[in-house]
């Protein structure tokens, strides 16, 4: 019914466009008024940046109106699926970098291989990988996100600590010291058991991986000696510095720091903004350093977003130009200044503070296995359950890792 109405609406609009153009143009889409539909995600690019790019884009294409909509992260999948299957899909979409793969493989996204983009040779590797499938580029790196240690300067000083730790052992000592000085429920570094993106970094730090691919077959690697060493390092670390429960995820990090129940968390730059707003008392005391590993900084999970275009877009060229503009130096600089991590390492000079620390940390990063079946593992909470079992002491590292490996192997190698 709605689709019918929409079709009539489009037909009517096309007719009006035709008559306005004097009935002469064979391609009304290029000359007549065109609406470019752009779907962005909540809490990503600030409104000012979106307005600025749309104004510039519309100035360059007088017949185009850019209609930007902001989607909630919750329930985004359902909206994308419905939209991509419709007659008139949005032209440009922002997708989380863990989301892109499944859509690239589905055939619903436009192939952007071979198009030129600024800074594409210095794009963040993790974002480029996330946007690629079978050697083709579907998702253009938009912005990144990774985790650093956010700490309270005042508590740090009160405990007699000065230099920022450069090794995991130093961080562990500092955390233990801070925890000893605090009250009964106080953590040195609050690290909940199900905080998988921070915990799995320990596996990569020790040289392990979640799973590797050879040909079509995936092999889970959590039981390898290196991965088990990493998980053991993690278990020892959280025991020494954290009083967070084993069955909780990272949803409350900001509040725990704001309510002065920890001296440190592992978090992202945007969290600092939230904490400052909600808990102004400690606003001036927050600082950050990269998470140290056993050798050098610890590899970080590279999150972030990519920009994609729907395969069924009526205006593929305009969609490409919009993506190109947003992914280019000018707007990436603006995003960087607003606290988002730009898509390229070449813009280090454009960012400051925690964003700069995050961008530097991104040089050593890891990403979840690029299998279209990974969402099954994610939804079954295999990694979170493994971590909780280890943190709570329900299972040994070897048992928990073996169990997770078996599930990952089953799920990644199941027929699609």
């Amino acid at each position: 019914m709605m689709k019918q109405l929409a079709r009539w609406g489009i037909a009517a609009a096309a007719l009006v466009a035709l008559t306005a153009a004097g009935c002469s143009s064979p391609e009304p889409a290029d000359d007549g008024p065109v609406t470019l539909n752009v779907w962005l995600m909540k809490d990503s690019a600030p409104d000012a940046v979106v307005s600025a790019i749309n104004a510039e884009f519309q100035a360059a294409h007088p017949n185009v109106t850019v209609k930007a909509q902001i989607l909630d992260w919750d329930g985004r999948d359902v909206k994308w699926k419905t939209a991509l299957a419709s007659d008139n899909p949005p032209d440009v979409l922002e997708m989380g970098n863990t989301d892109v793969l499944a859509y690239s493989a589905s055939g619903g996204l436009a192939d952007l291989t071979g198009k030129t983009f600024e800074n594409s040779d210095t794009w963040l590797k993790g974002l480029t990988e996330a946007g690629s499938y079978n050697g083709k580029l579907y998702g253009v790196p938009y912005y990144g996100g990774d985790r650093v240690v956010i700490y309270r300067k005042d508590l740090w000083q009160a405990a007699g600590l000065t230099a920022e730790p450069t090794t995991l052992a130093e961080l562990k000592d500092a955390g233990a010291k801070l925890m000893a000085k605090g009250g009964k429920d106080f953590s040195g570094l609050y690290f909940p058991g199900r905080y998988q993106y921070a915990a799995l970094s320990f596996v990569y730090d020790a040289g392990g991986t979640i799973a590797t691919q050879s040909g079509e077959k995936w092999t889970a690697g959590l039981s390898s000696a290196q991965a088990q060493q990493g998980l053991t390092n993690w278990a020892d670390f959280i025991k020494a510095v954290s009083k967070a429960p084993a069955d909780v995820d990272e949803a409350n990090l900001q509040d725990v720091l704001g309510q002065e129940r920890t001296a440190m968390i592992i978090g992202q730059a945007w969290m600092v903004g939230q904490i400052k707003n909600k808990y102004p008392k400690i606003a001036d005391q927050l600082a950050a350093f990269p998470m140290p590993g056993t050798q050098g900084t610890m590899p970080v999970f590279l999150g972030g977003s990519n920009l994609v275009s729907a395969a069924g877009s009526k205006h593929p060229e305009l969609a490409y130009e919009w993506i190109k503009m947003m992914a280019g130096t000018k707007y990436q600089t603006q995003l960087g200044q607003a606290g988002l991590m730009p898509n390229t390492t070449s813009l280090e000079s454009a960012v400051t503070g925690i964003t700069l620390i995050q961008l530097k940390a991104a040089s050593r990063s890891w990403f979840t296995p690029t299998s279209t079946q990974w969402s099954n593992v994610d939804n079954a909470k295999v990694l979170m359950d493994m971590l909780q079992a280890i943190a709570s002491g329900d299972k040994t590292v070897a048992e928990a890792a073996a169990e997770a490996d078996q599930k990952i192997n089953d799920m990644l190698n199941a027929a699609a």
Partner: protein, 320 residues
């Protein structure tokens, strides 16, 4: 049912009037009218029931993954989805778990509902008003909000339950993780579902209690029957139809329980509280296997319709 009876009652008055009072020309119009009046109801049933169930059935024979969806192709796979589901070990863990969960919830709902109804009947006026208002407010609380409230009540760090238990000295429950192991999470889920379901059961049973003639219970009391005896031998048999319908409805509601689970445990920990609803959601919405998800939904529908039918049939047999 109502659709079958409506046209008859609507059709009969004009049929009685037309031959005498009005000409035969009108008769043709009168004959079409019932069908016309039937149309809205038929349309509503079609749009809200037949079409969705039909497309669910259709989807269960298709692959219907993300690629099929966005490229709008239909790939028929015959009975593959059914084979896939019925050989999935996890399905055979989830199914009995769901049924056990529903059984516990239904039993508790009816038991607590009965107690509340009896209380309502005997309590003083103010107590009755207080209890009714509490029940209605509970009943009016959206499931989503109820689940969110319970999730925070039982929270490991910020939960009121842990706080109250610890400060009153009942147990050293600080940082006790209620949702941390499958059994604990199961208990909390039962509490949420029963909490939400009791008001409806209590109100229905209370309404039923009001229809029980007081002479019967008074006569029984004169004969020396105890309260329990009166309930078992007089009240319960009279209210049997109400209990029957409450049981059927509760079984259906509790078997397809979803928001309460999704908002508190998401099926965890260790996948220990995945019920059929979450199983379907994970397969369909999260993993884009819409064919497989529809298959599970079809199986669940068949099972529930079968259970309800069996129950209603035995019940009718008993009353006859």
């Amino acid at each position: 049912m109502s659709i079958v009876t409506t046209p008859r009652s609507v059709a009969s008055p004009p049929a009685a009037q037309t031959p005498a009072a009005r000409g035969p020309r009108r008769r043709g119009r009168g004959r079409g009218l019932p069908y016309l009046l039937l149309l809205p109801a038929t349309l509503a049933v079609f749009v809200t029931l037949l079409y969705p169930v039909g497309s669910m059935l259709g989807l269960s024979f298709q692959r219907a993954n993300l690629a099929d969806l966005v490229t709008r192709t239909t790939t028929w796979v015959g009975l593959d989805n059914y084979a896939n589901v019925l050989t999935d070990e996890f399905f055979w863990t989830v199914l009995p778990r769901t049924l056990a969960f529903a059984a516990v919830c239904v039993a508790l709902t009816l038991a607590i509902g009965t107690v509340c109804a009896l209380l309502l009947q005997r309590a003083s006026r103010w107590a009755r008003i207080f209890l009714s208002v509490s029940l209605v407010v509970t009943w009016a609380t959206p499931v989503i909000i109820g689940a969110a409230v319970f999730r925070w009540l039982f929270d490991t760090e910020f939960g009121v339950i842990n706080y109250v238990l610890t400060t009153t000295g009942l147990c050293e429950c600080q940082h006790h993780s209620w949702l941390g192991d499958p059994i604990g999470a199961f208990v909390v889920l039962v509490a949420i579902v029963v909490w939400g379901a009791v008001p409806f059961a209590a109100m229905s049973i209370y309404a039923g209690l009001l229809t029980v003639p007081t002479e019967l219970t008074e006569a029984a009391r004169v004969d020396g029957a105890t309260g329990r005896r009166i309930f078992v031998s007089i009240i319960f048999p009279l209210l049997r139809p109400i209990y029957a319908i409450l049981t059927v409805l509760s079984v259906i509601w509790d078997t397809k329980v979803f928001p309460q689970v999704w908002l508190t445990t998401k099926g965890g920990p260790y996948q220990g509280t995945v019920m059929l609803g979450v199983y379907i959601y994970n397969k369909g919405i999260n993993n884009s296997q819409f064919g497989v998800a529809s298959t599970v939904a079809v199986l669940m529908t068949i099972m529930l319709v079968g259970l309800s039918w069996l129950y209603i049939r035995t019940l009718r047999g008993e009353t006859r």
